[in-house]
């Protein structure tokens, strides 16, 4: 089976006055239909920028400087704005973190949904309205006819995020990129949204990229995981491989700092130091300063392996004993 989305060697740099910020560097992954990829990393690791690059949303001073993005075999890098507009919201859709900011506060929900349908399809208004209503039902919004006539401020945070998901679903995209869509929501509401997303991907075969900093959400939701650090993928594989037998010292450190993995009241196992500035990355492994296993070999950036469970490290950890 050919993957729906293939990203290889993607690099996005920002050319600022202070220097070149390598926000995304040599990121590669492939995604099959109906598959859920969890893209995990801390702030500044480049996970959101990877998502924006795939949506063609990088503005100057940023630029995609290398790599290829193939959607069902079609190369997207090098497309002009007009062709990107045909893809965006139609074949690749995005859900953003803050549902307060992504809906237009002065337009009714139906206006915003119709706009998304009519921008890509030459269908009568009634047909577009029917599709909007269908999408509202799919994401579990009660009494959709009434809710379509409401304004965003009349919705709660969880409901607004559902509307954002409904808009993303409207044109039955091949890929949905979700950038921390549940971070701003409460635990019980997050549970509801995860439930809806999981169901939708299973039913419609849409591939999903779920960007988050929360490993435990990924554990319950995703099929595959890619862990990012300082702009690069440092470990990738299936959820079980990466979380149960993490091989990169950073992934292992991250897992150990989650409070639930430590005995209660005892100090947490912590990763010393903090994430390096993306401006001053040298040729050495970016994790070197914080890594207990670092040696002279780590002066050069390790390449990522070609296996299904790949790791970017000169001294990967073995299976846990």
């Amino acid at each position: 089976m050919r993957p729906v989305l293939e990203v290889s060697g993607l690099s996005t740099h920002f050319f600022t006055r202070a220097g070149v910020v390598k926000a995304v560097e040599d990121v590669s992954f492939a995604l099959n239909a109906g598959e859920i990829l969890g893209l995990v990393g801390e702030s500044g690791s480049g996970k959101s920028m990877t998502g924006y690059s795939i949506m063609g949303l990088i503005d100057p001073p940023g630029k995609v400087v290398a790599g290829s993005i193939r959607l069902k075999g079609e190369e997207l890098i090098g497309y002009d704005e007009a062709r990107w507009q045909k893809i965006r919201g139609n074949r690749i859709a995005m859900i953003f973190q803050d549902p307060m900011m992504t809906l237009n506060p002065v337009l009714r929900i139906d206006t915003q949904m119709l706009e998304a349908v009519l921008a890509h399809h030459d269908v009568p208004r009634e047909e577009a309205l029917r599709r909007s209503r269908e999408a509202m039902v799919k994401v579990g919004i009660p009494s959709p006819d009434e809710r379509l006539l409401a304004y965003p401020h009349q919705f709660s945070g969880g409901m607004r995020q559902r509307v954002a998901i409904a808009i993303a679903l409207l044109n039955k995209p091949d890929v949905i990129i979700a950038d921390e869509p549940t971070t701003a929501l409460d635990v019980t509401i997050q549970g509801q949204i995860l439930f809806e997303m999981q169901k939708l991907c299973r039913e419609s075969g849409t591939a999903l990229i779920w960007i988050t900093h929360d490993l435990s959400v990924i554990a319950g939701l995703a099929d595959k995981v890619a862990v990012m650090y300082a702009g690069r993928i440092v470990e990738t594989g299936t959820v079980d491989e990466v979380l149960d037998c993490s091989r990169h010292p950073y992934t292992r450190g991250l897992m150990c700092s989650v409070p639930a993995c430590n005995p209660r009241g005892q100090p947490l196992k912590q990763i010393p130091g903090m994430t390096p500035s993306l401006l001053s990355l040298g040729a050495e492994c970016a994790f070197r300063e914080r890594c207990a296993r670092a040696t002279a070999q780590c002066d050069t950036m390790p390449a990522i392996g070609q296996d299904a469970h790949a790791v970017r490290c000169h001294h990967p950890l073995g299976a846990p004993t």
Binding site: L221, V239, V258, R264, G265, M274
Partner: protein, 324 residues
């Protein structure tokens, strides 16, 4: 029993932190806290858990004295706190949620940390530098950075500055309002370790407010769960996580994503959190509760004893108790 000292007790702390919205229109009253009792023993770490709008931050702010309760009172070591009681005010300090917004961007770190102890004459102005240096070392910051401004620090370092500022007036009791929520996982672990170490070293008592059950489970001795302005359950941490009694607590624990669950089938708890302006009648949780009965709609359940150190506000448990 052995423990007799009462600490920041607020009996029948109540009813209305009335927030009046708008002028001219009839005032809208938000019952942010509805007859809440909270007792913290000396040396204890209490985790206060709830979703947004449940009143947990308001309760924290009342405990510190930032809000005056509309009714009810605050007690410190058994005595009602008078409004001008300065030593008690200094003994209870707060650490705020946002390490970016809670530091004055125009002050140097030496002044952010050192201003309060000098103003309260705990130290002489000449000693400020040495005092601040000592505090910065305690929270794991390099003391040579004290002439810098907040924007020159990362999120984790700012959280440490906020902790040092709270510690500067030698408090006994710290209210931490989502103190680690804005931090990345690896930084969060470092700051939580600092909290645990400081507790051992200085004998501090914490009220730890958080929506993150994993963090609360790790750090607290006792957990208090709130829903829409009321306490629904309070119990020792292990008991709550082993066998939650209230249906809301059960639902909350079931929804928490865990690392050891793979490709879980998420089940949604139905419904949303109602508005605290028009809370549901009777038990506030009844519209979302799978066990709700006629009685739950009509009558608010009182907090009843459900084991040693355990209370729960649910008719299911009072019914069970009457039957036995």
């Amino acid at each position: 029993m052995g423990i007799s000292k009462r600490f920041a007790k607020s009996p029948d702390l109540a009813a209305r932190i009335a927030l009046k919205l708008g002028a001219g229109t009839p005032p809208v009253v938000v019952h942010a806290l509805d007859r809440v009792n909270l007792r913290v023993m000396q040396g204890e770490v209490v985790g206060l858990v709830g979703e947004s709008g449940c009143g947990k931050s308001t309760l924290g702010r009342v405990a510190v004295g930032l809000h005056a309760p509309s009714s009810g009172d605050r007690r410190w070591k058994g005595n009602v706190i008078a409004p001008d009681d300065l030593p008690t005010r200094l003994a209870i300090q707060m650490i705020f949620q946002d390490p970016y917004a809670s530091l004055n961007p125009r002050l140097r770190i030496a002044d952010i940390i050192g201003e309060a102890p000098v103003a309260h004459k705990l130290i002489a102005p000449a000693d400020q530098e040495a005092y601040v240096a000592d505090l910065m070392q305690q929270v794991g910051l390099d003391a040579t950075l004290m002439r810098r401004f907040p924007h020159q620090f990362s999120g984790g370092q700012r959280a440490r500055i906020g902790i040092a500022r709270a510690l500067a007036v030698k408090p006994e009791f710290l209210v931490c309002d989502e103190a680690v929520a804005a931090l990345d996982v690896s930084i969060q672990a470092q700051v939580l370790n600092l909290f645990i170490a400081l507790r051992e070293k200085l004998g501090l008592t914490y009220l730890f407010i958080s929506h993150d059950l994993g963090v609360v489970q790790h750090i607290s001795d006792r957990v208090v769960i709130m829903y829409l302005g009321r306490v629904v359950e309070s119990a020792p941490t292990e008991e709550v996580f082993r066998a939650p009694l209230h249906p809301y607590t059960q639902a909350l624990l079931a929804e928490v994503p865990r690392l050891d669950q793979r490709r879980k089938d998420f089940v949604a708890i139905k419904g949303e959190i109602p508005s605290p302006i028009h809370p549901p009648s009777g038990c506030h949780f009844h519209p979302r509760c799978p066990h709700a009965t006629e009685r739950c709609r009509a009558e608010a359940p009182p907090l009843i004893e459900a084991g040693p150190g355990r209370v729960v506000a649910c008719h299911l448990h009072s019914a069970a108790q009457n039957a036995s």
